[in-house]
């Protein structure tokens, strides 16, 4: 079994300068998982400090509960990074080979098929059937890459995000291309689950693709892909989220909305990777405000205080130890109390966890979970009464 101190030959305390920790507990206090899981980031740091080898941390299975939302890191008064301690412990567990089976399958699939969903590379573009989607495979060249992402490409529900965006881009005559079946998982979730080697393999493929095709801008569907391109790839070109592109199109009047929009009360759920980690709070709200008929309301826990949906950090493939009501269920109940018609979000993981929560709380028919792209496409001229 590998040891924690094997990583770079230093202890966790040395590696992450944990001796600066005040043990104030703001990390655990802010952690969206600590209420329903034994996960306690302050304790992780304490144990890293008092036990030189820190090996006892390897016994703590709750390390898999971390969603890597980084609320802990954002609240630390000493600017420490508890989330990185979790990731480091995961990495050692991964080298020992004993990890949740569902996560193992996702990792092996990412290496073998280039996506974590166990689906064939050949089916990556199946979602484009019947749609007009630019792709390098059809010689549609552009300097702007739309990175579709694995979940919008393969998951039947999240696919609606990709379909909606393709339609919006077509209507608004956006210049873009996609990598088609050449697109490979960005590796964000694999890195945060602790599989650093796999992340390197995947990121190398993407970096080569980006450089070879001379893109000068990347627009991502998922905040997770966007974040890793910015935070981990070190790309030298601008990387944006699709809501930023849609906000710009709205300002330019390039989104041809129908005149009479359906009156909808919409609450926006800030995805952690868009908001907390990249401070993109305004663009999604600007898009929603531009949609005729939409009344935008705010959750009490919004923006930097947004409640994590539990979909990040590899948690889409880890059941976890948490007990009781899931955060996404709390979110759905809050929204029903607020009397909203729609919880809007802008992340495929949030979309899936929230939609699951609608079902598990028996709230079908009471409200809808829609991605911003879906709300926009439904409101385009000629589409107003088709859905929504």
């Amino acid at each position: 079994m590998p040891k924690i101190s094997d990583i770079e030959g230093v202890t966790l305390a040395e590696r992450f300068e944990l001796s600066a920790c005040l043990q104030c507990g703001r990390c655990t206090g802010g952690c969206p998982m600590s209420i329903r899981s034994p996960l306690n980031s302050r304790k992780f740091i304490y144990e890293s400090l008092i036990r030189e080898d820190g090996e006892a941390l390897l016994e703590r299975e709750e390390v898999w509960d971390c969603t890597s939302c980084r609320t802990c890191s954002s609240r630390c008064p000493r600017e420490l990074d508890p989330a990185m301690v979790m990731r480091a412990v995961r990495t050692v567990k991964i080298e020992g080979g004993r990890i949740p089976k569902t996560l193992m399958d996702a990792m092996e699939s990412s290496l073998k098929h280039g996506n974590p969903w166990g689906r064939s590379r050949m089916k990556r573009t199946a979602w484009t059937e019947g749609l007009s989607v630019n792709s390098i495979e059809e010689d549609k060249e552009s300097r702007r890459l739309w990175f579709v992402g694995c979940t919008p490409a393969y998951d039947p529900r999240a696919m609606e995000m990709a379909k909606a965006l393709a339609r919006i881009f077509e209507v608004a005559e956006v210049d873009y291309t996609t990598l088609g079946s050449e697109e490979v998982c960005c590796g964000s979730e694999m890195l945060r689950a602790g599989e650093e080697g796999l992340f390197e393999e995947l990121s190398e493929v993407n970096k080569e693709n980006f450089a070879e095709l001379e893109f000068d801008e990347v627009v991502a569907t998922s905040p997770h892909c966007m974040n890793t391109f910015i935070a981990d790839y070190g790309l030298k070109i601008p990387v944006t989220h699709y809501t930023q592109l849609l906000a710009a199109l709205a300002v330019d009047g390039a989104l041809p909305f129908g005149e009479e929009g359906e009156a909808l009360k919409v609450a926006f759920h800030d995805p952690c990777y868009l908001g907390k980690q990249n401070s993109i709070y305004e663009a999604p709200r600007e898009v929603l405000k531009a949609v005729p008929g939409v009344e935008l309301v705010e959750f009490s826990r919004s923006r930097e205080r947004s409640l994590c949906c539990e979909g990040g950090g590899g948690r889409m493939w880890i059941e976890g130890m948490g007990e009781g009501e899931r955060n996404a269920q709390i979110r759905v109940r809050d929204a029903i109390d607020m009397g909203v018609d729609i919880i809007a979000t802008a992340c495929p993981f949030c979309l899936l966890t929230l939609e699951d929560a609608v079902k598990t709380t028996g709230s079908e028919g009471k409200l809808k979970i829609l991605d911003i792209a879906e709300i926009v496409v439904n409101a385009l001229d000629g589409n107003e009464r088709s859905e929504g």
Binding site: G97, R98, G118, K123, L198
Partner: protein, 263 residues
């Protein structure tokens, strides 16, 4: 304890639109990803568990071309002490008799206490490699094992039978055991682990070094020859339900109710 494990590198055909090649006897496989045969993953894990508990040396064997070395690297990454790859162009697409001759030749004069193989491979699925190798070595073999314990010069195994039944068998070592899936939980092999294993040597053997002449290969190949393969004919009576997942589920439910299903 000297332990040997045989692994095979096979195509992953999940979701693949398979096509029969022009020769009518092979499948077009150019685009398919390859991986270690699933049964062999369990055999490898079991071999490592035995080595970890009793000590000894684990040698992994593979009959395959250079691309198949990936599966041997997994063996080295999880704890195999040696890796041996046997290849000769004449073994491409060879039947189980020819492959077993190569497996037997790779073992040579070495004596192993325990030899583990997957119960079958997901590509051709003959399930013959293990039993034929045991025959060639003159050691007893037990097939489809889903529980195993090595103790006092014997191996106690449970063989998987139909309907949840098991058959307990005790065999003297040396012995060959073919492993059924589910016997253990194969560990994850990290990319870093595989990279580290790339620095370890893999012994290469060709037809000459495993003692197979062209005549012998021809003789073995004659024992079983593949006449042809074909995709299943499209039958009648199947109804493909179209629509969104919700619509398909609703139609499915209606059909089951209509047919008197218990719901």
């Amino acid at each position: 304890m000297k332990i040997a494990v045989f692994v095979k590198h096979v195509p992953d055909v999940a979701e693949a639109d398979l096509e029969v090649a022009a020769d009518g006897r092979t499948v077009k496989g150019g685009e398919l990803p390859f991986e270690m045969n699933e049964w062999d993953r369990f055999a490898l894990e079991e071999a490592v568990l035995v080595k970890d508990s009793l000590g000894g040396e684990l040698t992994s064997f593979l009959i395959g071309d250079e691309a198949a070395e990936e599966s041997l690297r997994r063996c080295l990454a999880v704890g195999a002490d040696r890796a041996v790859r046997v290849w000769d162009d004449g073994l491409a697409g060879a039947n189980p008799f020819a492959l077993t001759a190569a497996m037997r030749g790779a073992i040579g004069e070495d004596e192993y206490d325990l030899i583990l193989c997957g119960a079958q491979s997901s590509d051709d699925g003959y399930g013959l490699g293990g039993p034929l190798l045991a025959e060639a070595l003159g050691v007893p073999s037990v097939a489809l094992v889903n529980k195993m314990k090595v103790e006092g010069g014997k191996v106690l195994v449970t063989r998987e039978l139909e309907g949840g039944w098991g058959e307990e068998v005790e065999v003297d070592l040396p012995a060959l055991v073919t492993i059924q899936t589910g016997i253990n939980e194969p560990r994850y092999v990290s990319i870093l682990g595989i990279k580290k294993a790339r620095k370890k040597p893999i012994d290469l053997m060709d037809a000459v070094s495993v003692g197979i002449t062209a005549e012998r290969l021809a003789t073995e190949k004659e024992k079983l020859s593949l006449v042809g393969i074909e995709t299943p004919a499209v039958g009648e009576g199947a109804e493909i339900l179209e629509g969104s997942p919700e619509e398909v589920a609703a139609k499915c439910l209606a059909l089951l109710k209509e047919a008197g299903g218990v719901l």
